[in-house]
């Protein structure tokens, strides 16, 4: 049997790592997926190529995250390998060894934001974001689209690319009023310099195949068509499944496989999915076959009955309304900045972030330079109830000269009043600077 598309796989189930023994994100999570993948003989198919994951370096983490107080403090070996798996697939794709690839790795990453004090939503560092910075730094990829199909809002990925007009982030998820992390509404459409380039599509609980695939066909694909990304990344969370214990959606393995066929991601990276027996083995087999261009019509969960999980008309109606609203926002993206944020030289915001996995509470204030030419330099001051504090300055990829200058002047001026550490991410030079603050 030969795959129509050369598909790379990294399979890293991390059988010896867990947050704690009874946590949904635990050793057993990908066990039955491995059983199914092995038993189906998927890795023997000509054109499906299994790769050993690499490890990411602290430098690669540092491009994406400000870690308190360094990557080792917030990452375990498994985090290094999981993100490393995404990197392995990205490299194989860029080197044209494969037509597309899927990193089936754990732990997941899409709730990890730019500033990292610890774990939130089972995530410490953002696998896709770290991978995307590798694509930009090593291969000069400019326009990237991420489609997050995890049932939870990809708030971490949204945060990391909030000010970045070159990275289009689209998240489909169960409505934030009914599920962690409680965000991801249509009015979250990106920061002032990247207004319109974050797209949130909240879906009602009970959404099944028809509603989900309608959204992909009528909302996600037209936007991708407009944006014309060089690469499409899928944050392939599998917790929309009807048997998932921590969500309320009604998606199926067939639905996930069809979604993948429609979206045609170049790189997929596994996110959540906690129905480890009833869903994951079948969903993953379906996605792998779909990516490889093979027949997945017989991949179904035991007892799968599409009629029983079908959404009602009211749900479908709500979905269509949301899609229309999202498309309207996308169409007016050029005027969005002035309308929503006004014209200012600098924009400030402050917010608090909770780390549910590690029980940390963080306060942030942020200042961003308004810029027509690039994503704009910004500075985040962050402190937490763990008594860590940091100032992080970010000069974006493709920064204009003025933004570069401002980044360094902020860094020089920052004498670290009240912070443990002051950091500068210089993305154009791919450099990372760091100095001690005066906080004891």
């Amino acid at each position: 049997m030969k795959a129509l598309k050369k598909t790379g796989l990294v399979f890293f189930p991390a059988f010896d790592w867990a947050i704690d023994p009874t946590h949904p994100e635990r050793e057993e999570r990908l066990l039955y997926t491995q059983d199914q993948v092995f038993e189906e003989g998927l890795l023997d198919i000509d054109g499906i190529i299994e790769y050993k994951p690499g490890m990411i370096t602290d430098h690669e983490v540092g491009r994406t995250h400000f870690c308190l107080t360094k990557p080792k403090h917030v990452m375990t070996e498994s985090h290094y390998i999981s993100a490393g798996g995404a990197k392995t697939i990205a490299r194989a794709f860029m080197e044209k060894e494969i037509d597309n690839g899927f990193a089936l790795v754990r732990p997941p990453g899409h709730h990890a934001m730019r500033m990292v004090h610890g774990g939130r939503g089972f995530c410490n560092v953002n696998n896709e974001a770290i991978m995307i910075e590798i694509l930009r730094s090593e291969y000069g990829v400019k326009r990237i689209a991420i489609v997050d199909t995890d049932c939870h809002h990809g708030d971490g990925t949204q945060d990391i690319f909030w000010h970045d007009p070159d990275v289009l982030f689209i998240s489909l998820h169960q409505d934030g009023r009914t599920l962690y992390p409680g965000s991801g509404f249509t009015n979250e459409f990106g920061g002032p310099n990247a207004a319109g380039y974050t797209i949130n599509i909240p879906l009602p609980p009970g959404t099944s195949e028809e509603g989900y695939l309608y959204t992909i066909q009528n909302c996600v694909l037209p936007i991708l068509e407009d944006f014309k990304p060089e690469i499409i990344v899928n944050s392939a969370g599998q917790d929309n499944h009807y048997s998932d214990p921590i969500t309320n959606m009604n998606f199926s393995a067939q639905g996930y496989a069809k979604l993948t066929t429609m979206l045609k991601p170049d790189i997929a990276v596994l996110e959540g999915g906690y129905s480890i027996e009833g869903a994951l083995p079948y969903v993953n087999a379906g996605i792998i076959l779909s990516m490889a261009g093979l027949d997945y019509s017989k991949v179904t969960e035991p007892g799968y009955d599409p009629e029983r999980i079908k959404e009602d008309l009211r749900t479908l109606d709500a979905i269509k309304k949301t899609c229309d609203q999202v498309l309207q926002i996308w169409d007016m993206r050029d005027e969005l900045k002035i309308k929503a944020y006004g014209e200012k030289p600098f924009y400030e915001r402050s917010r608090s972030i909770t780390y549910d996995t590690d029980g940390i509470w963080e306060r942030q204030s942020e200042i961003l330079r308004s810029c027509e030419e690039c994503g704009g330099t910004f500075k985040i001051r962050s402190s937490s109830d763990r008594d860590y504090s940091m100032a992080g300055i970010h000069i974006p990829v493709g920064a204009c000269d003025k933004c570069k200058e401002i980044g360094y002047s902020w860094y020089d001026a920052e004498n670290g009043d009240g912070h443990n550490i002051v950091c500068l991410q210089d993305r154009p030079k791919d450099e990372f600077h760091k100095k001690k603050g005066n906080k004891k």
Partner: protein, 557 residues
Amino acid sequence: MIIGLDIGGTHADAVLIDKDRILKQVKIPTDHSDLFSTVLEGLSKLTEGINTSEISRAVLSTTLTTNAIAEKKTDNAGMIIAAGPGLDPELFRMSKNYFIVEGALDHRGREIKKIDKNQVLAAAKKMKEKGVQHVGIVTKFSTRNPEHEKEIAALIAKDFDAVFMGHNVSGNLNFPRRIATTYLNASVYPVHKAFFEAVIKSLDEKGLKFPIHLLKADGGTMLFEASINQPAQTIQSGPAASVMGALASAPKDKDIIVLDIGGTTTDIAILISGVPVLEPAGIKIGAYKTLIRSLKTKSIGMGGDSFVRVEDGEVKIGPERKGPAMAFGGSSPTPTDALFVLGLASDGDKTAAEKGISEIAEKTDRTLIEAADEIFRSTCRQIIECADEMIDEINSRPVYTIHDFIESYQINPGLIMVMGGPASLFAPMLEEMSGIETVAVPSWGVASALGAGLSRPTCEVTFFADTERGIAIAPEENFSMEVKHNFVKTDAYSKACELLKKKAALHGGLMEDSQIETLEDLSFNMIRGYRSSGKNIRIRVQIKPGLMPGFESIAQS
């Protein structure tokens, strides 16, 4: 005393060995149309004038089953398959008599759908009408629950000569490979059985009584009696024989590349601290990917007799062989001819070799010596590149735990061992090019026969327990037991070792605990609704391939 007999493509080698030396060796031409008489002749010649009561065993490595498959002289075996959800089982059709029936298990072996008995009986009827006598039965996830396979077997066993079940083939998960392997067992069974029954009968008539072992593809041996139900295990034992032959004289403290340089191909294998590297899933035979344990070997179409010619102004070598070297009466130039021109070989017709190489020299505007040098270097370079690729491939094998990721052993070869006809002539150049010390395997003429004779019995046991379901099974051993919630990994491990010892005894194994190696050792808490509902335990133990203890000094002789 031990007998080792290796049937190669052109001749069969047999050796009789004592603790510390080769007592006798014979070489006879292989008669491919009658391997039985080749084996018998080898054994008879070797035992002439010997007190055969002192022979403790004879190990045969034959191409019988391999040839039967290659020449499609296999029985027209039938297959009954139950798959359930997943890939369409039609994709793995092996035979004209391939029947798919309803019935399904999930990854833990729980029944999703019952076997449709009427479909099974209808399939059996059709096969009988077509004269099928041997049937393979494979269901998906049967290594987690063999009951469906047993149920089908019980329904049809009386109608056929032999029935083979997938769960007996291997404890490893891989449905397509399980289908292929079971099919191969069913198809080579009659050829295999007839052949070895004839051998045993003839030996009996000659009054020769000693246990007969067969060499397997993994470099281990199994008793002939045990092989009857797993004949496919003996497929492609040829490369294993030569690797085990090299192992006899290999230092234990190095990673070693073994190169068996033949006329047409060079076979490459890797030894890590005296243990050959195995193929992780199983050997590939022709179009069949199987679950048959095997040494990892890689073959490159580059040997002493490879066809050398000029294409687009460049010298090309192999992969085909057009005949012997011109120095030995062939009609096309070969790397061996280059060796004659370079003065490295002298036991043939140097003038003929020069004539062949001079054609190449003219077409590429070189002197005779330059052309010969280029041919020789290019041959060696390509062999080394192929070995390097193989090492990279092994070093980048996937891992599934953090522990394995960090601990995963990286091969770093410290020695190349060459064997085969032109081996000693190639050694210095291989050493120069690779920068790795290169030696020829001593007594290389009979190294394969020696390797077969010295190989120890090997076997593997896979043990699976699911305390929520209250079951533990060792699929290949037809073993199952009930387990309670307090059954833990250490219990599973001791049970697996017990089964391994029992199996080893059946395979003719001498047992020392130190030979047991753990291949997999995992236990997962199954959590349902935030509460532990049981444990999922996976243990795999093996007797690793190696040589019979007590014969260490023989290779140095």
